[in-house]
Amino acid sequence: MTATASNSSLPSASLISTQALMGIRNLELRARAVVEGFWSGLHRSPYHGFSVEFTEYRQYTPGDDPRHLDWRVFARSDRYFIKKFEDETNLRCHLVADQSRSMDFGSIGHTKARYAATLAATLAYFLHLQGDAVGLLTFDERIRDYLPARHRSSHLRQIMLALEKPVGGAATDLAAPLRRITELVRKRGLVALVSDFFAPLEGLERSLTDLAACRHEVVVFQVLDPAELGLVFDQASIFRDAETGRTLYVDPAAARKSYVEKLEAHCAELHRICDKLGIAYHRLATDQPLELALFDFLQQRMHRGTNARAVAGSPGNLPA
């Protein structure tokens, strides 16, 4: 399920380097650059509405809304068929982006916050191109911005602007934004949570459970810096916490083993929670190309979409 597991299927040589990508100042341009080449309509909306684009016919079964009967087919064939159209705007995606100070760390030229913002923007742009409504919620130790899901170009720009805001706050509270989303978004949709998850996980499981119970599809992106993954520092020094300002003298050589163990344990716990709730979990290092993340995401979405369709037992298209 993780991105790292399936990245090999994409030729990495053709991808834009992360450094070059992050060198682009405009967030929207960065998002466009990533989405470039992925416009192949890889996913479909799980919702079938009555829009302009026809998808299929389905035989009427008692209980269906008689308004949706295709009377012309009935006149020709004396059978009741329900006419189905593709609903492009029914997917409501909410991006929940962490903008706490812990995201303001970066050892390879760009911070996690910038990477996460680009990731969120890429998703937003991609979904927008797909015709989905995109909303945004940013948070640190409290909720900073909330933009409800809409499908408008101006709305997309607002999302970009909100994502470009500088980091702040003195802590990270993961549970509160998820609770808020649960409260605000009644209709089923996609919730993509982007954070480093450097916070206690106690309240998170409960919040994710609530979200899942509302039948939201939840995707978790854990963004980490390569230096964080292995505590890659060569000099002992005073480490200052970006959020609390607390300082600690740390010799990386001595502390590395214990650090990595603790970090892995933390990630494993997060992974366990996601697995338990059927939530897609992606761990991304900030030197990893974003296309891969998008690719993984779409692959996972396709897989999920296929599964959903299989579960729904589609009758297939009727002949016109």
């Binding site: 760390f105 020094s237 480490f239 959020e243 650090y259």
Partner: protein, 702 residues
């Protein structure tokens, strides 16, 4: 190697600082921002052997620079062999000078001075020679060098202390200069010239500002004699004093006669408000009205105290409100007017404004100081013997009878003065008779316009008051006519002034004990403008003083002053302020043993009225502010402050001086400082090189 300021060596401890900084630098090098410390554990500070070795040279250089600085500041010098102190164990010669002036009567001072003197005496070794002198206005030897030598060693101190105990402060002024000169001379005496040991004067005094040092000004201080000052400090700094203002018996036009006194407040005084008033000599408090006076510390005020009118016998002015009473009273005996009797011998009428007598009477009015009685007698008549005998000065303007001239000459011969100012040359015979000459030629001269005085002898007491150029202009006095007298014909005559024509104008002719002053012109308008000039009255007073009769007997004296008793004759009985009487031998001309302030009276056996005089404290004694020791040093006296046992301290001081000299000659600190600078330069270069070398690799994650 020794150090002049070894305390600076403590600065060497600062070499620990670079070591600490090197360690600290390892542990707290720089800060790294990290996203979260939630997975991190604090690490104990860790030093790798490699890193310590890398900066060891730097550390050594830094330590070396600090150590060099510390040693340099400690001012090292190489000790040279110091000759042993010659004076140690050698007999010293010490003169202990103890102040017994009036200012030592202040509270606690004398006891302290005695204690210090005793301590100094007890510190004297058996080989030392000590002389104990008490001084105020004069010097009183209490225990001389000779006595010290002849007394057994065990008894010396006890005897000297006993003599000191029998002494107490008197009422005299402080002649510190005289006392120091006397002590220095005792030490530098010929008997003691060969003594090798140190010679020293120990001065135990309150060193008040009023101490007199004039005697030191003309004295070359002998070499090798040190003055050690051991001052006694008064417990109270407040002191005010009273002084009689000289010539103070003035009369206030409104309030009648007043006595003026000066109230002096010491600089450190805490009191400012005082009262002054009259009292009896033996009374402790002011009787009658008081005068309030406000005197800020360090200043003085003169106040007029109205003379008592109702209560007789008040002869003391007291100051109230002061802490130290020793200088709070002055004794006052009013000056009696001097009586001078002038016998005028002439034929003129006293009311005739053209005659000399008219001007003479008006020129000599009676004052409070001088009562001048002018008695006029017709010169041609027989002179009453009583008048001639009682006259102090004769003024002769007209020819006398032979008997009259002889009578006057007799008085002149015993010391009286006669002013002979003839109205005409007809008086020449009288002058000849007065001078005991057979005959004398005198002519009459009338200058064409007028004559003026020239060639005045201003050195003569008669003209001395006019010696100042402001007053020496006699040219405005015109003489219309004068007598011509040949001075050569008068033996012993001294010309005091001449007319511009060259003929004598004023002559002094001694005769016996007295003298005849000859004025060859009169002062009446017919002869000259002299009577109308401003010079006339002073000239007459000069003449009266010349006769020695003008001065009233002194009624005020200072303790220790010589009081002249010349005017009194016969055996004299002197009554002291404390009631005791002293009989002075017949023929005594003065009295010198005024021991304390008060009213003294002298009575003669002849039954004449007793004469009173007041003796007061020297005003300088009132100035009790401490004298600066620099004043003594300025007069060439080598002063050392005596807070330490002398011998040990002086040798220590000498050692310190020698060390100072050696250090200033060797100047090792300079080399050390240069070395430290060189080391610092090397350290900077090395540190810079190290920093440049390590900069690219530091601070980046691996």
């Amino acid at each position: 190697m020794s150090f002049l300021a070894p305390f600076f060596l403590l600065g060497g401890l600062a070499v620990a600082l670079p070591v600490v900084f090197h360690l600290v630098r390892r542990t707290t090098r720089e800060q790294t921002l990290f996203s979260s410390l939630m997975f991190l554990q604090p690490s104990p500070p860790r030093l790798t052997r490699k890193s310590r070795l890398e900066h060891l040279l730097l550390l050594l250089l830094r330590c070396l620079a600090l150590a060099l600085l510390a040693v340099g500041f400690a001012r090292p010098f190489l000790k040279q062999s110091v000759p042993p102190d010659d004076h140690r164990g050698v007999a010293r010669r010490i003169v202990v000078l103890v102040d017994t002036s009036a200012s030592m009567r202040r509270e606690g001072l004398w006891a302290a001075a005695r204690g210090q003197a005793e301590a100094a005496l007890r510190q004297a070794g058996p080989a030392d020679q000590v002389e104990l002198l008490a001084f105020d206005r004069g010097v009183t030897p209490l225990f001389s060098f000779d006595e010290w030598k002849t007394t057994p060693a065990g008894d010396r101190v006890a005897q000297a202390v006993g003599r000191l105990a029998a002494t107490s402060p008197g009422w005299s002024s402080t002649q510190l200069g005289h006392a120091l000169v006397r002590a220095a001379e005792d030490l530098a005496g010929p008997d003691d010239a060969g003594q090798p040991g140190p010679r020293e004067i120990l001065l135990i005094s309150d060193l008040q500002e009023g101490s007199r040092l004039e005697a030191l000004q003309a004295y070359e201080w002998p070499k090798g004699i040190q003055l050690r000052v051991d001052p006694v400090k008064a417990s109270k700094t407040s002191n005010a004093g009273l002084q009689l203002v000289t010539g103070s018996d003035d009369a206030d036009r409104d309030a009648g006669p007043v006595t003026r006194v000066r109230v002096v407040n010491a600089p450190g005084s805490k009191r400012e408000q005082f009262q002054v008033g009259w009292t009896r000599p033996d009374a402790p408090e002011i009787i009658g009205a008081t005068v309030e006076v406000y005197v800020p510390p360090g200043q003085s005020r003169i106040v007029s105290v109205p003379a008592p009118t109702h209560a007789p016998g008040l002869s003391k002015i007291m100051l109230r409100g002061d802490d130290d009473p020793f200088d709070d009273s002055v004794f006052v005996v009013p000056t009696e007017a001097a009586r001078t009797s002038i016998l005028y011998l002439g034929d003129d009428d006293a009311t005739d404004t053209h005659q000399p007598l008219f001007f003479l009477r008006r020129a000599l009015p009676a004052t409070r100081r001088q009562a001048i009685q002018v008695t006029a007698r017709i010169s041609s008549s027989t002179l009453p013997a009583n008048d001639v005998d009682s006259a102090d000065l004769f003024v002769i303007t007209d020819p006398l009878t032979d008997a009259g001239a002889d009578a006057v000459r007799k008085r002149i011969l015993v010391g009286k003065t006669a002013l002979f100012a003839p109205k005409s040359s007809a008086s020449a015979t009288t002058l000849a008779r007065l001078l005991g000459l057979p005959s004398l030629a005198m002519g009459e001269t009338k200058p064409e316009k007028y004559a003026m005085l020239a060639e005045i002898d201003f050195r003569h007491p008669l003209f001395a008051p006019f010696a100042d150029p402001r007053f020496s202009d006699f040219t405005k006095i015109h003489f219309w006519r004068h007598r011509q007298l040949d001075a050569a014909a008068v033996p012993g005559a001294r010309i005091l002034a001449k007319f511009d024509s060259g003929s004598p104008a004023v002559l002094e002719v001694p005769a016996g004990k007295g003298r005849v002053m000859v004025l060859t012109s009169g002062w009446q308008p017919e002869d000259s403008q002299l009577a109308l000039s401003s010079k006339f009255v002073p000239l007459l007073y000069s003449l009266i003083e010349l006769g020695g009769d003008g001065a009233a007997p002194a009624t005020q004296a200072t303790v220790g002053d010589r009081v002249p008793l010349a005017a009194m004759s016969g055996a004299l009985t002197l009554r002291m302020p404390d009631g005791t009487s002293v009989t002075l031998p017949s023929g005594a001309t003065d009295f010198t043993t005024t021991a304390g302030p008060g009213i003294y009276s002298v009575a003669s056996a002849t039954g004449s009225a007793p004469r009173r005089f007041a003796v007061n404290l020297d005003p300088a004694e009132t100035r009790t502010a401490p004298l600066s020791e620099d004043d003594l040093a300025r007069l060439g006296v080598p002063v050392t402050h005596a807070a330490q046992p002398d011998a040990v301290r002086s040798s220590e001081k000498k050692l310190v001086l020698q060390s100072l000299e050696a250090e200033s000659r060797q100047k090792i600190w300079r080399s050390l400082l240069i070395a430290a600078l060189a080391v610092l330069a090397a350290e900077s270069a090395l540190a810079g090189w190290t920093a440049r070398r390590t900069m690219p690799t530091e601070g980046t994650p691996a």
